[in-house]
Amino acid sequence: MFNWLYQIGEGMQMYSRDMFKHLCGMDVTCSAFIGTPYATYLAIGLGAITLGVLALHYYVLDSPSFNRYYHWWLMALIMAILNFAVAYGILHASIHPGGYCKDLHITNSGAIGVALFNVLTGLIVSIVLTWIPPLRRLSTNNTYTTFIPLN
């Protein structure tokens, strides 16, 4: 379902074509894309972490003491660490010998590349979502909180 997303990362040469195929679910026999759909898992993890951290900042904490643009970047850093850790953790566990199609050339640096792609995507999604005033308006204390000072 989210293969298109990780095709972008592959296009950006953040990881290899083989890693992309692995993400798309190439099975261990290399016969079809019927294996574990890592792209979907990674995208769901990415979405959950990104939206979760934003919701925590804007609607749960929603604090007047934590609503400056640099607080946004602090939350973005936390989000990046989580996105990286979750993506890398999932992929790292999947690339042990015999755990994936033997025709694919998959390395640890490829897993790091995917994790970095998730970090980048999470950051972009956060920037886009928090740039939109109506979403910020749902918050009480963060109506002017985004990645740059608005005033």
């Binding site: 929603d62 604090s63 007047p64 400056r68 308006r137 009480t140 204390n141 963060n142 109506t143 002017y144």
Partner: protein, 500 residues
């Protein structure tokens, strides 16, 4: 809107009017939802009196604020105006709250009554009627006839009653009469133990009730059946003994008895609702200064309690008044009491009704002032309530509205609280200089334990931000006052657990 004309006579009149102004600024209103446009008229020949000057300045600042932002913002929620402002096109009066007594500036009483032009018999009569000694501006002993009236009547109502009688022929009285309607009311504040107030109260009431005999004024019928309330302040403060001074604590009671006796005979049936208030005379002794400096007394709880009578009066329904041919059919007499008498009073010592009337509103204004002093500049351009249009930023604090009218008013308010707190009897329900969570000692602010944070300005900011989202404001000045009224009310409810 119905109007309430408040005649504040003498030094006590000014001080009670000052207390009333503080209370309406805090947002206190009459019961029963009755609203009035208040028209204060200060009557005091002693224009150098600091109480008089402070009250006048306070009213000017109040009016400037209320005129700018309107009266629907909680704080400053009662409209006030000068007599001139009721009809500025036709008025011949200056825009002031004070009644300018004629021929008293630098004049001796004997000049005022034309003593030198009298024949010998009349001079003799004047000497009998106005016998006795007093002091001049330099505290030098003089005869009563030589009294210099621009320092007041120095406890001589017999002088005051002559001089203040010019009120009925004044432009102020004419414009008061012409603007007075059947819906309007009159309230007279005076003390009974001095000179100006004791003399002024009967004169004002008499001239209103006898308006039919004054062909120079309009609205005579309305005035004759006017609803009149009056507050008479009986002795309530101590004064330092000074054998050379004509003001003596020992004569306060004698003068009070004499005046009460006069009221009983001459005022019964003239006033619809009469309020009496008093206190022990053994508190902190005020400086005895009848001279040019004038009596400058610290604010006293009795003045606050006295001012509450005006709210009580405003809250009385029209159908509870009844008069016929200028005679009140059912005069009512009221007094004030507290739950517990103590030298250092707090809210807990007040009757519940009194406490509920003033506690929240006064605390809101204290909190508003505290925030403006300590936190506003830290939040400008940072918190949403400050950034939302219209912006609350440095441009606002540079405006006269903020740096003159509001600042001066709040300084006066805090000084008034401080004076009441330092006085004996003291009224000290606030510690304005304490930490934010401790400014109301009876109700320290607390946060739920699971917040892991003690109460701080950020909690007020959050409430300000929440109210700012809901509001629609005509100007940054209106927004400032409106927002803080609601945010401070919520703050007191949520964190100080004060609901009324």
């Amino acid at each position: 809107m119905k109007k309430l004309y408040i005649f504040a006579v003498g030094g006590t009149g000014s001080r009670v009017l000052k207390a009333f102004t503080m209370l309406i600024a805090a947002g206190i209103k009459a019961e029963n939802g009755q609203t009035f446009q208040v028209v204060p008229i200060i009557i005091d020949p002693h224009s150098g009196n600091l109480d008089f000057q402070q009250t006048n300045r306070l009213l000017e600042n109040y009016m400037a604020i209320a005129t700018d932002i309107g009266v629907d913002n909680g704080f400053f929620g009662t409209a006030i105006s000068t007599l001139r402002d009721l009809n500025p096109a036709a008025s011949r009066l200056p825009s002031t709250f004070t009644y300018g007594l004629k021929k008293v500036l630098g004049a001796q009483f004997k000049e005022y009554i034309g003593y030198r032009g009298m024949n010998e018999a009349n001079q003799g009569l004047a000497e009998v009627l106005f016998s006795g000694d007093t002091v001049d501006k330099r505290n030098k002993p003089i005869n009563l006839l030589d009294i210099e009236m621009d320092i007041g009547f120095i406890g001589n109502p017999n002088i005051g009653s002559v001089v203040l009688n010019q009120f009925k022929d004044s432009q102020e009285f004419k414009e008061f009469a012409s603007s007075f309607t059947d819906q309007d009311r009159v309230f007279v504040i005076s003390s009974i133990f001095g000179g100006t107030g004791a003399a002024g109260f009967p004169i004002i009431v008499k001239n209103i009730r006898n308006a039919m005999m004054n062909s120079d004024i309009d609205g005579r019928g309305y005035l004759r059946r006017a609803k009149i309330g009056a507050l008479t302040v009986l002795p309530y403060f101590n004064i330092a003994p000074d054998p050379k001074s004509p003001i003596q604590k020992s004569v306060f009671i004698a003068k009070t008895k004499a005046a009460l006796s006069y009221y009983e005979t001459n005022m019964h049936g003239s006033v619809d609702i009469m309020y009496y208030i008093s206190d022990e005379l053994n508190g902190k002794a005020y400086k005895n200064d009848p001279g040019n400096g004038g009596q400058k007394n610290d604010a006293h709880f009795v003045e606050l309690a006295a001012a509450l009578s005006i709210f009580d009066y405003m809250g009385i329904r029209d159908d509870q008044f009844s008069s016929e041919n200028g005679q009140v059919l059912r005069p009512v007499y009221k007094e004030f009491g507290v739950k517990e008498k103590t030298a250092d009073m707090r809210f807990v010592h007040l009757e519940d009704q009194t406490r509920d009337k003033i506690r929240t509103s006064l605390a809101q204004l204290v909190l508003f002032n505290k925030y403006l002093q300590k936190e506003l500049r830290n939040t400008m351009d940072k918190q949403p309530f400050s950034i939302d249009a219209p912006k609350i930023n440095a441009a606002l604090t540079d405006q006269p509205f903020y740096n003159t009218h509001l600042t001066e008013f709040l300084e006066g308010f805090m000084r008034w609280l401080r004076e009441m707190s330092d006085n004996k009897k003291a009224f000290s329900p606030f510690l304005p200089e304490a930490e934010l969570n401790a400014i109301i000692p009876e109700n320290p602010a607390k946060t739920p334990w699971y917040w892991f944070s003690k109460f701080k300005y950020a909690h007020i900011n959050s409430l300000l931000n929440a109210h700012s989202k809901k509001g629609n404001y005509s100007s940054e000045r209106q927004k400032l006052v409106h927002l803080f009224y609601h945010a401070t009310k919520d703050t007191l409810r949520k964190f100080y657990k004060i609901n009324s």
